[in-house]
Amino acid sequence: MKFAAKRLAMLLVTMVVVSFLTFAAFSVISGDAAAAKLGTEITPERLAALQAEMGLDRPLMVRYGEWLAGFFSGNLGTSYSYQQPVADLIAPKVLVTLCLSFLSFLLIAAVSIPLGVWSIRYEGRTGWFWRFWDIVRTVFNQLCMAIPPFFTGILLSWLFGILLKWFVPGQFPELTEHPGGALRYLFFAAVSIAIPRVAMTVRMLRSTIISEMRKDYVRTVISRGNDRGSVLYRHVLKNSLVPVVTFLAQTMAEIVAASIVVEQVFGIPGLGRMLVASISNRDYPVVQVIVVILAFWVVLASTLADLVNQQIDPRLRLGGAK
């Protein structure tokens, strides 16, 4: 319990630091935003007046405090380019991106864990076939890691969208009205995010399990007459779980990064697409909020992973091994 409390406190501190850094970074350029808004009609007086109107003339910490208070009460400021509250703009998109991340995550976990465990079963066998198999596996793994999600996305949306007509590229069904169609649409995006990550996770699982299999306790259990398979499932898997959970949490960060690009490929109206459009429009209030939301999402995932890990491994709970 003490551990959980400490971890949650750390989560809060990290979130405050993350949001402050983002806020500070965008404060540096907000002056430009006022200047950009005025365009050619810029005079020093007008600039000062607009900066005052946008609240840019007050100290950084005050503005940060107000922004943070607004963030938690749902008042996220006003978009420069749409003249609408940022909250209204973003609210429908958060759900879409959340669904996409979850779907990708499920896909990665569901495919890579069985695949990784299966790839261990034949480890250590000799003979030309297994040597050849090892090469095929490694090359295929490297190939999958080399495919950028947006390229897979282009190929998938052509194959399944235009050739097979399983979905219409560019026409994303309303998530709340047609959840089935929307999820099918998101599934293809999730596949293109998942392929390189599955390859990485399988690789990571393999090396974790193999190094665990070399430990003394495994030798002991085998010498007492158990076969490799049952040792793998009954002992080794449990013990290799901690690094895997940590790795999957890091995967969340990669999913978020990939979803920014993949949303663009498939024309999915999510946070990533909004982010890119807002950066091009120099719409900093929107960019700022989206960056903070995505970063929170990643921090939350890694906190959850830590909490799960200390449930799995009592040593972490006692604070012995860090």
């Binding site: 890691m145 950028p148 390229f151 052509w158 960060a253 990064a257 690009v261």
Partner: protein, 268 residues
């Protein structure tokens, strides 16, 4: 030592690509920007290895130039990340103390931002559209991961016997770090550099694809893919040629990394 075919194949493929890319800086079969109205949407042939696009531009020439931009940016990015990251990691790992603790906590915060997200933040602060801003943004983003890897390596070597004995022999700190410890971390650093290079290629391509990275007149593989996506039905060879060039580039460097890691395991 056992034959390391992964390393060998990877080096060979990367070498071939590097030669092609270097060639592309000086000479391309056609001008990458020359339009030819009578040769629109031609399929791949001996005249145009990867066909032509909607303006009749030779795609192979464009891919050569684009690969040069992408690989060049990735190279500079990794150089910035690796040099700064190694310096920070080596110093904090060797000396430890409060600075080490503080920098590692800062590092934890930085990992909350996925690499592309952080690069996008930097880009929007620096201003989009310039090649140098992309290099700077990505370079800074890559520092923490290198620092982390190097720190672990240096911290684990700090109290190893050979380091202790050179310290007793009166070697200066710079000498211990650079001459004695750095070569022994190569086993960890070199694979990290290959992985970093691949991440940089993918990040640059993604950013250009989004239209926030390199913009015309500079060709970049990512931007070309976003162009190619719109004409996939009319000219699939455009997207395929560009996409597979990225795959091949990342794959070859990935093989080098795989080979280096396997060699590291054999030595250990």
């Amino acid at each position: 030592m056992k034959q390391n075919n992964y390393l060998r194949t990877g080096l060979f493929l990367t070498g071939v690509l590097a030669v092609l890319i270097c060639l592309g800086f000086f000479w391309t079969p056609y001008s990458p920007t020359a339009m030819n109205g009578s040769e629109k949407f031609l399929g791949p042939s001996l005249r145009h290895l990867m066909g032509t696009d909607n303006f009749g531009r030779d795609i192979f020439s464009r891919v050569l130039k684009g690969a040069g931009t992408t690989a060049g940016i990735a190279f500079c990015t990794v150089a910035i990340g690796a040099v700064c990251g190694t310096a920070v990691g080596a110093l904090t790992g060797y000396f430890g103390g409060i600075v080490d603790e503080a920098l590692m906590r800062f590092n934890d915060v930085m990992t909350a931002f996925p690499s592309i997200l952080l690069a996008l933040v930097f880009i929007s602060v620096l201003g989009p559209g310039s090649k140098y801003n992309v290099i700077l943004a990505l370079g800074v983003v890559f520092i923490p991961s290198f620092a982390r890897v190097t720190r672990t390596a240096f911290a684990s070597l700090r109290d190893v016997n050979y380091v202790k004995s050179v310290r007793l022999m009166g070697a200066g700190k710079a000498r211990i770090l650079l001459v004695h410890m750095l070569p022994n971390t190569a086993q960890i650093l070199l694979p990290a550099i290959t992985i970093g290079f691949n991440n940089a290629v993918l990040a640059e391509a993604s950013m250009s694809y989004l239209g926030i990275g390199v913009t015309p007149p500079d060709a970049s593989l990512g931007y070309m893919l976003s162009e190619a996506q719109g004409m996939f039905s009319a000219a699939p060879w455009y997207a395929l040629g560009t996409g597979f060039t990225i795959v091949l580039l990342v794959f070859s460097v990935g093989l080098i990394g795989e080979g280096l890691q396997r060699r590291g395991k054999e030595v250990a």
